[in-house]
């Protein structure tokens, strides 16, 4: 979606330039004279009226989408925080258009935009259980947006969230991987819940996973046969994370939100983006995952 919009913007800019050039190529003498007599003030006036003066505001704003109140979240099994991507796609006069991607859900929004205060109030369509209203202010000098989101349904586990997001560029890069600092030996854990008291977790060793990359190398049986279930899961889901997949699965979402700083959720379906190498590795890893799930603690091999 983002790419298409960028492409459209690029085409419009490019075509505008072409038309201007055409005028430049075919001037009559009068126009030349006019141009020569134009003062610098007139030129700067022309630049101000270019419709894309807001383009520096467009882009992905990424960060934590945090509950405003901690009451009831645990009881209703909500998530305290998720990584959100608020994409500002288009600003036209006093309207702002965009979409948000969070927790495996991508929703469009549109609404009013105040050019002076840079405050936007935008609404989601309202046909999804989790739709609501975003209110935020853009801070172009800091490349940030800050604001709140209020759900249409106040009975949700989390009816209000706040956010302070940084502008980020997204680009698929097969080389991105789980970062591991060799001097510091540690294990990471996978949780199904953000509650501390819920003690169930799987431990994974980042030093092993960070040596493998399922997007850039063809994995062998020897590479993956000694990994435990959680490690296989992370190795495979790193592929989706590189493509900007927004995880519905809580265990994966909590892990990528907290442990991977380069991770930006941009899409809820990345299947078409996967390379043939990645598909091959996914198939291999899945075999071992299923085997681990079914047979690891079972009387058998």
């Amino acid at each position: 979606m983002k790419k298409i919009i960028l492409l459209i913007i690029a085409i419009t800019i490019f075509s505008c330039k072409k038309e201007e050039k055409k005028h430049d190529v075919l001037p009559n003498k009068e126009e030349i004279n006019k141009a020569e007599t134009e003062t610098p003030d007139d030129v700067s006036k022309k630049q101000e009226t270019v419709p894309d003066s807001n383009s520096n505001l467009l882009g992905f704003y990424v960060g934590a989408f945090i509950t405003s109140s901690y009451e009831d979240v645990h009881k209703k099994k909500g998530s305290y925080h998720n990584r959100i991507n608020i994409s500002v796609d288009r600003i036209q006069n006093d309207s702002l258009y965009g979409h948000s991607v969070v927790a495996g859900n991508s929703r469009p929004f549109k609404g009013s935009f105040d050019k002076v205060t840079l405050f936007a109030k935008v609404t989601e369509p309202g046909d999804d259980k989790y739709d609501g209203v975003f209110e935020f202010t853009l801070y172009p000098e800091k490349n940030k947006i800050k604001g709140v989101w209020i759900a249409n349904n106040n009975q949700l586990a989390v009816p209000k969230r706040k956010y302070d997001l940084d502008k980020k560029e997204f680009e698929y890069n097969a080389g991105l991987n789980l970062h591991f600092d060799e001097e510091y030996d540690y294990n990471l854990s996978l949780h199904n819940s953000q509650d501390e008291e819920n003690g169930e977790f799987e431990s994974i060793d980042p030093s092993i996973i960070s040596k493998l990359n399922a997007s850039s190398q063809e994995l062998t049986n020897q590479d993956v046969e000694n990994l435990n279930k959680g490690e296989l899961e992370i190795l495979r889901n790193l592929i989706y994370a590189r493509h900007g997949y927004s995880f519905k699965n809580r265990k994966m979402r909590y892990f990528f939100d907290s442990a991977i700083d380069w991770y930006i959720p941009v899409s809820t379906d990345v299947r078409k983006e996967l390379t043939s190498l990645e598909n091959k590795n996914i198939e291999l890893i899945k075999r071992y995952e299923q085997h681990a799930k079914r047979y690891y603690d079972y009387f058998g091999r």
């Binding site: 049986n221 000694n226 085997h291 091999r301």
Partner: protein
Amino acid sequence: MFQITIQYFPIDFDVAFLRIKQQYTHLTHYKIAFYIHVTFSVFSLFAGFTQFSKKIRTQFSKVHKVIGWIYLLSVLLFAAPSGLILGYYANGGFWSQLAFCILAIGWFWFSLQAVRALRQRNYTKHQFFMIRSFALTLSAITLRLWKYLIVLIFQPRPMDVYQIVAWLGWALNLIVAEIIIIKYLKK
């Protein structure tokens, strides 16, 4: 054990254990060896359970003979040679490959010695080698039991546990077999 075998029938090369052996399942000899092994190992395992009963041996010697030959032929002609092929392609690298190959050769050797003892009419020798042979047959059960217990207690990595049980599964059985033989000799 019967259930473990039955999951591979009707013949399907993409189930259970074979799901993580896909790098070998295109090999015809691997596929044949695998199916021979899972089929005839079950014969030998069940045949073995009746053979140590003194009552059957003395009062129903014909039963002992028939089941005994089923056991010996299953092992010598089918289960042990196919086991050697599978051992060569075992998971877990060199050390578990070595463990499974020794297991297969030992199984064959002990069973063969038991047959030879019959030819020599040396029934004590036959008994001793059958105890050893069946100790290795039972590794089918003990290997899986050790795996279950080790995972339950230590939760190691999958191939680490596999390498451990590849040895533990039969070596301890053999030690127990020798203890039984020594005790028998003292009588």
